[in-house]
Amino acid sequence: MKFSRRSAFERRARPLLGTIVDIGVRCDAATALVDAAFAEIEALQRCLSRFDAASDIARFNALPAGACVTPSAATLEVLRAAQALFVASAGLFDASAGTAPDGWVCRDGRLHKLHPKTQLDLGGIGKGFAVDRAVERLIEDGATAGWINAGGDLRVFGDLELPIALRDESSGASRPFGGLADGAFATSRFGDGARSRLAGPSRGGPATRGTAHVSVAAPLCIWADALTKVVALSGDTSHPLLERHGALAWLH
């Protein structure tokens, strides 16, 4: 179904995950469903955000080497995905953001700190994971179609083709990208003034100066989110990991 302004979607937004999270749902009891999806995201944020002092990640970051925390099942799941991606991307995706990638390990349901310098930051994968979880919750609760957009990390489900626009943060302008159905999409900005760097020609990347955007479409938002970093750091829009996760990438 094409998205139309007359469609019966309930659409709400809240500030979460460090951005504005927009949820649209088609269902009879949409208000309760949207509330439950926001609650799911809030609960995940309390586990995953390094800015929340009580989160699993902030507690880990505050640990001395040799100590451990017992994280929630959700945190363990994200960490497992991050670790798998670290290995598969030959270190390009690094949840320790370069502090000491081998300084953490999950064992027997606990998260151990092996190196005093290791600081974890799930910013490159956690938003996508939270979007997937909340979408699954919406579907379980009976939503027939809808989307969740966490500041550009978005997933669409059900009988709906959602128009997507790309925004260039430096100019603020948006332009039509196309439509997405039954899948996820994420965009990251790399380069001057951004948190992440784009690979230069020396790392096999394009000879792009200044800033660029990487967009990835994938069946799951966790992979769309995380693979934008792999594509940016490798400069490779046909990186083998994309195919493994059924993903497509664009540099723009």
């Binding site: 500030p15 990390d153 128009p163 997507i164 626009a165």
Partner: protein
């Protein structure tokens, strides 16, 4: 997963049509009802903070931005259930209207975005651009905003909203201490 590319998706950016987006999520009334479904009335109180109160906020590290605030008091009979305050914040390219529901214990109960307006980057600071949205979002039904796609770009920060929420919590606490919302 199905991806359809627009014809202009990757046209040279200078030639590609640029547009700005706007979404209306909730009206003020809808947000207040959502936050306090048991409330029978929402009394609008205009609160004016005096110099001493503003100084106190300053000492807490909160810039009150204005001495004048409008607070809706959620009531069921004679009982106060909480407070709702509406505010706008301006980001680099966006104007965000939001509502904060505060419980009687002073804690944030709920935050809802009412509307989101994205400009091309400069209009957002022009009063005329912002004025055109005054009173919008007051539709009777919760519905999808007009000509709205979903935007994907470098992550939009919600720092301005988070700062605004902190400000509103402090303003309501100061007003209650001063007896303005009793």
């Amino acid at each position: 997963m199905r991806v359809t590319l627009a014809a202009s998706a990757f046209a040279v950016s200078a030639a590609a049509p640029a547009s700005a987006f706007a979404v209306d999520y909730l009206s003020i009334e809808q947000a207040a009802k959502l936050m306090f479904p048991d409330a029978e009335t929402f009394d609008v109180r205009d609160v004016t903070l005096d110099a001493a109160q503003l100084q106190q906020l300053d000492a807490q590290g909160v810039k009150a931005r204005s001495a004048h605030w409008s607070v809706r008091v959620a009531k069921r009979g004679a009982n106060t259930l909480g407070f709702v305050v509406f505010d706008d914040v301006i980001g680099k390219v966006e104007l965000i209207s939001y509502a904060v529901g505060i419980a009687t214990d002073g804690n944030v109960k709920q935050i809802e975005i009412l509307s989101y307006r994205e400009s091309h980057g400069f209009e957002v600071r022009l009063p005329a651009w912002r004025r055109q949205f005054v009173g919008k979002g007051a539709g009777s039904a919760i519905k999808v905003g007009e000509d709205i796609a979903n935007i994907s770009g470098a992550t939009l920060s919600c720092t301005h909203v988070t700062d605004g929420v902190r400000r509103i919590v402090a303003v309501v606490a100061a007003a209650r201490r001063g007896g303005a919302l009793a």
